[in-house]
Each structure stands twice: as C-alpha cells, then as structure tokens.
C-alpha cells in the first residue's frame, strides 16, 4: 500500500502529511512535485495544506492547472482515492472534483484553533473507522474555509450523504456559534458522489499523535488504510 503526497510551490503541510503516513502508520509515501505527469504506483493521493501559488487569484485556482493535477484527475476518474486537506480541499473544489467553493471566512479573520467535528456519514473511505458517536477535536488554520454551494448542491450533498464532517461545539451541538468560518450547514468536509474523492478544512495530520495534544486525526488516515486493505489496487 503506497501513498503519494503532492507538493506545490507554497504547500506547507506536505511534510506533516508524509510524516504521519511514513512514521505514524509506517506506509511507503512519495512526495510528488507539481510538475510530475503521473501519480506513479500510489494507491491513494493526499493533497496537503498550504498556500499554493500564494493563494493568488483564488485559493487553489492556479494549482489545479498544474501537470500533476491532470494525473490526479485521471487517477480519481479511474476510482483512485484522493483526499485534500485545507488548501488541498480548496484545490479539489477549484478543479471541479468536489462540488462548491471555499470563500473568505465570514469574520475575515484567519482562524487558527482547535474545533470539534461530528462525522455526518461513516459510509466513506475516509470515515469508516471513526466510532459512532465519537466527536473529533482537530485544529483548523485557514482564512478561506467558508464552504459555499448553491441550494440545489447542498440538497444533493445531504441526499447522497456526501457531507463527511460538520463543525459542532464542545458539547456536541451543531450551532452557528460553533461554525468558525460561516460554512453552509457547518460543513467542514465532503466527498464526491462516487465517494472516492474527499476533502476537509481541518488538519488531521496535525492531530495524529498524542504528543501533539490529540490524535483524533489518526482515525481519518486509519479509515483510508482500512479501505485500501479491503479493496484491490487499481489496474
């Protein structure tokens, strides 16, 4: 089981992601520069956080046209697993691989803090191992994490169970106050209709070791690893 982590000019969570996959989970992981035209023999691709291309024009808007994203799209179209964290989520939305867009936080502030998340569906490769009823505590660090989509898209996300995570408060209630950025329906993460592409604004790679103050993020990596164990690799 091999992983690839993309690296764009301006990515800054790529090494954290590689560290978790290699050192915490002991999985061979390759760092893929944005100029690559192939994802190689990876079984799953992570698109890490950061500020690719300085967030110029719109977050993720330039990265999505890099050569490696062509390969990632083809990989996903063939059923490959792709997960975007923070800027990675923004890039996947810009690429049209996930619906909607991430816009400026309603507070206009860059929010850097721990948040609580509820898992809205366990029926995905990214959430399957999260125990029922377990709320996750994971940090966010973003200025543009305000998930927006039109009413019709929101309805289809709900109908198809594509919402992965929603912001809640410490008591587990889904309230407007618990929403750190103004996202519609408190959305913190979603997947596509085929359920092989997912993205989230919070950083599970920063919460995968107890020494960092919490390891709830491990469950997301663990879910994907468990999925890959039961699914044959792509031909």
């Amino acid at each position: 089981m091999k992983f690839a982590v993309l690296q764009f000019p301006g990515s800054n969570c790529d090494q954290d992601c590689v560290h978790v996959l290699r050192s915490v989970f002991g999985r061979p992981t390759e760092l893929l520069w944005h100029k690559e035209y192939s994802v190689g023999d990876a079984d799953a691709v992570f698109i890490p956080g950061g500020f690719s291309y300085g967030d110029y024009l719109r977050t993720g808007s330039i990265a999505r046209f890099s050569p490696v994203m062509g390969a990632v799209k083809e990989f996903a179209d063939n059923g490959g697993f792709v997960f975007g964290i923070c800027n990675g989520f923004q890039i996947l939305c810009e690429a049209g691989m996930l619906p909607g867009a991430l816009i400026r936080n309603r507070s206009l502030q860059f929010r850097c803090e721990h948040v609580y998340l509820q898992t809205a569906t366990h029926d995905s490769p990214f959430t399957g191992q999260i125990p029922e009823g377990k709320n996750l505590r994971i940090p966010i660090a973003h200025g543009e994490g305000n998930y927006f989509c039109d009413d019709e898209t929101l309805q289809s996300l709900e109908d198809n169970g594509q919402i992965l995570f929603q912001y809640i408060d410490a008591e587990g209630d889904l309230t407007d106050h618990a929403n750190p950025n103004g996202s519609r329906a408190n959305i913190a993460g979603i997947c596509n209709e085929k359920r092989n592409v997912g993205g989230m604004m919070p950083h599970p790679e920063r919460a995968s070791e107890a020494v960092l103050g919490g390891d709830d993020g491990r469950l997301i990596f663990q879910s994907l690893i468990a999925t890959l164990k039961t699914q044959p690799p792509l031909a």
């Binding site: 024009l57 808007s61 867009a101 400026r104 507070s107 039109d150």
Partner: protein, 79 residues
C-alpha cells in the same frame, strides 16, 4: 488591445468584505449606503481583433479567471 475583466461575487454568495466596508462607511457617517460588493479587476493586454480577444478571454474567464460557483464576470474592451 486592452481588455478588462470585472469579477464580482454572485448575489447569492455572502461577501464578508463587502459587508465590512458597508458598515465602515455607515460608521464614518456616509449616508444612504446600500449593498457593497467587493470583487476583482484584471487588465489584460492581448493581440488580435475584438472578436477574437473576446472569444478567447471568455473561454479563459469561464475556466480560470472567475469561478462560476461563486462569481460573475464581464469583459470591457479598450482599443
């Protein structure tokens, strides 16, 4: 030819920057301020006649310069 691309947030999209500027204007005593929307303005120099430039820029605005999920745009031309 010089083309100008004017990009604005769609009506349905919350524009927190616009809201903040609107309330700042009100606080400063600027009477009668209504909705404020903040977008982007891009100037592009491009060779070709107007029709060609318009066709090309529309294509690239649709897929790159603006995000149709959240933004509208219009093109203005200067000879």
């Amino acid at each position: 030819m010089k083309a100008k691309v004017i990009i604005t947030p769609k009506r349905a999209v919350l524009d927190p920057q616009g809201k903040t500027v609107q309330s700042a204007l009100e606080h400063m005593g600027c009477a009668g301020v209504g909705d404020v929307r903040i977008g982007k303005y891009i100037e592009i120099e491009m060779d070709g006649d107007r029709e060609t430039v318009e066709a090309k820029l529309s294509e690239y605005a649709d897929k790159f310069l603006a995000n149709p999920n959240i933004e509208d745009y219009r093109l203005v031309f200067e000879d």
